[in-house]
């Protein structure tokens, strides 16, 4: 007996909850062959605004967590992703039209990417911080602190899961909270990952995921005064120069678009990109 298929209508992930788009809009996600697969929410600028509010309120808690603790939380995401890898493999095969071996390889790489970044969380400060020699009886220390709220345009092409993780994980390591615009054409990996995040130890609001049209939403985030940084890694097809100009109005840190399979490759630089250096002077005499 044949069963009726249950087409899903996915939602956004904002502040640890799964709301529908405020606008009520959805768009169709199709398989590689063009068949209907599911509806995804089409976020509006008000959803982006709500996501910024959620991300802002989560900054102090997440940035205040110790590096060791953040590492544990990120590692936990890798654990959960490993447990649900079959679902991700199946979705990647259907949406991206990848072979099974390619899909498995991508999911494995994404898991490894979480683990790799999780390891950095209590170590990056030793590498990017420093003790500075100064001409006086002082200790002079520079330490990295999170930039704050980071808006990310995730890579839009194939390899959607790996691209998403590669863009989001480094911003989280340093204690930033993020608003991510998922791949418009291949959003399922991001949506399923939001379900993983919701059941992991990541506090609500630390990761906020919007599906829909990056071309529509990104300008609002680029000009939003309460967003501190903009990662345009997946914005190559957008008017990204205009986005940089808009971001400059409020002095955001901006990372440029990257293309090809090496986009958002793992590096310490991606972690350091969204940190601010705090330098403190401390008298030696009193110690």
């Amino acid at each position: 007996m044949s069963r009726l298929t249950i087409p899903k209508t996915y939602k956004l992930y904002i502040g640890g909850k799964f709301p529908r788009s405020e606008s009520g809009r959805v768009y169709e996600v199709a398989t590689r062959g063009g068949d209907f697969l599911a509806n995804a929410a089409k976020a509006s600028r008000k959803d982006a605004r709500d996501a910024v509010v959620a991300a802002r309120s989560a900054v102090s808690g997440w940035a205040g967590t110790s590096g060791y603790n953040r590492g544990q939380v990120l590692y936990r995401i890798a654990e959960l992703l490993e447990g649900r890898s079959a679902q991700f493999v199946a979705e990647i095969m259907r949406v991206e039209g990848a072979s099974e071996s390619a899909a498995v390889a991508q999911v494995d790489k994404a898991i490894d990417r979480w683990v790799w970044y999780a390891g950095w969380s209590d170590k990056y400060a030793q590498v990017t911080g420093s003790s500075n020699p100064v001409a006086g009886p002082y200790f002079n220390l520079s330490v990295p602190e999170p930039t704050g709220v980071v808006a990310i345009v995730a890579p839009q092409g194939e390899g959607s899961l790996l691209g998403f993780v590669g863009a989001v994980a480094p911003a989280l390591v340093a204690g930033n909270t993020v608003i991510v615009l998922a791949s418009e054409r291949y959003p399922l990996s991001a949506i399923s990952l939001s379900e993983v995040l919701a059941t992991s130890d990541v506090p609500g609001g630390v990761v906020n995921i919007l599906t829909g049209s990056p071309a529509e939403i990104t300008p609002w985030l680029a000009s939003h005064a309460d967003v501190n940084a903009l990662d345009l890694v997946g914005a190559g097809a957008l008017e990204w120069v205009d986005l940089q100009i808009a971001a400059a109005e409020t002095l955001k840190r901006v990372l440029p678009p990257e293309e090809g399979p090496d986009a958002a490759a793992p590096s310490l630089d991606r972690i350091a990109a969204f940190t601010e250096t705090k330098t403190v002077w401390h008298t030696k005499g009193l110690l």
Binding site: R49, V52, R56, W220, S223, H224, A225, D226, V227, A246, E249, T250
Partner: protein, 340 residues
């Protein structure tokens, strides 16, 4: 239950409005008969009406007008045990210049502080202080053992006189909810009349009297309606929902029911009474819903600082953020308004 006839027949203090409406033989008994004769509130209908008024979509130019008007209607408030002269001075600075980045931002209607902070508010306002006129910023003081109202009448009157002498233009008094809920309407009535008398200045003019009903403790809409009538009969210039110290504070249905009383009073006597929802209104969206409700219930005449106020502190920042969004086209953030 036995009724103490001696006290029930006790004549309450004379008050022009009540004598005119209730009749010349103003007693506890006649007052109770009048208030309990007021028809009950259809709670379901009231809430439906309020939520229907809340769905109105206000866009672009109307929204810009509404945001400016909301600022002009705000009683910028600080009522914390930890208030200091410095805190009051910074509140006044914000009242004078809500948004330093935009000089076209209007000023708020009033600053609302505890009685002992009035001198500091008056001093900080300087020439911007309204001092009885309709231009400038008013100083409102909460009095009568705010927020509980649990003190003897003598203490409450001293509290009021003290604030008026210090230069308060408006007095926010709390009613004795205990007396009201146990049916001693005359006592509440007398108290409001006495406080009103204490609002008199040396030159014979009166400070405006806002009567706080504390609707969160009155339990039913019927009680809110009765208390509103009582406050108006006793001589209140404004009726105010809440102290902001009790939850729920100002809800839209409550404000609507009070506006209905004000409307009825206007039809009956031609006199205009003010309404002030206070506490719990934090977003521009909520405030705009209130504006719509006022305009649809009593009319747009009421959308002036003389007849409608918002008692709020955090509302102003949200309105400023919305204003900045309208001006620049980009969303603003809390880093662009003052930390209160």
């Amino acid at each position: 239950m036995t009724i103490d006839t001696a006290s029930a027949e006790r004549a309450v203090a004379p008050a022009a409005r009540a004598i005119e409406v209730v009749g010349g033989d103003l007693t506890e008994k006649s007052l109770r008969r009048y208030l309990e004769g007021i028809p009950g509130v259809d709670a379901v209908g009231l809430e439906t009406r309020a939520s229907a008024l809340g769905t109105r979509s206000i866009k672009t130019t109307s929204k810009a007008w509404a945001l400016d008007r909301i600022i002009e209607l705000i009683d910028l408030t600080t009522l914390e045990g930890s208030d200091t002269p410095g805190k009051v001075r910074s509140l006044v600075a914000k009242a004078l210049v809500p948004d330093a980045a935009d000089p076209s931002t209007p000023r708020v209607a009033a600053v609302c502080v505890y009685g002992d902070m009035v001198p500091y508010a008056v001093e900080a306002l300087g020439s911007a202080h309204a001092a009885g006129s309709h231009t400038g910023i008013q100083v409102a003081a909460v009095a009568t053992a705010f927020p509980s109202g649990r003190a003897s009448l003598a203490v409450k009157l001293a509290d009021t006189k003290d604030a008026v002498a210090a230069g308060a233009d408006e007095i926010d008094m709390v009613i004795d909810r205990g007396a009201f809920l146990s049916g001693r309407y005359g006592e509440v009535f007398d108290e409001i009349v006495a406080v009103k008398a204490a609002c008199e200045r040396d030159n014979g003019t009166f400070a405006h009297l806002k009567v706080i009903l504390e609707t969160g403790e009155l339990n039913t809409y019927d009680n809110v309606r009765r208390a509103s009538w009582l406050a108006i009969l006793a001589g209140g210039d404004f009726i105010k929902t809440s102290t902001g110290k009790v939850s729920p504070a100002a809800t839209l249905p409550t404000t609507l029911s009070m506006l209905e009383v004000v409307r009825d009073w206007h039809r009956l006597t031609g006199e205009k009474i003010g309404v002030k929802p206070a506490g719990g209104i934090r977003s521009s969206k909520d405030a705009i819903k209130h504006l719509v409700t006022v305009a649809e219930t009593v009319g747009e005449d009421w959308l002036t600082p003389e007849l409608f106020r918002f008692g709020a502190s955090s509302l102003l920042n949200d309105v400023l953020l919305q204003r900045q969004k309208l001006r620049t086209g980009a969303y603003s953030g809390p880093a662009y308004v003052t930390v209160d």
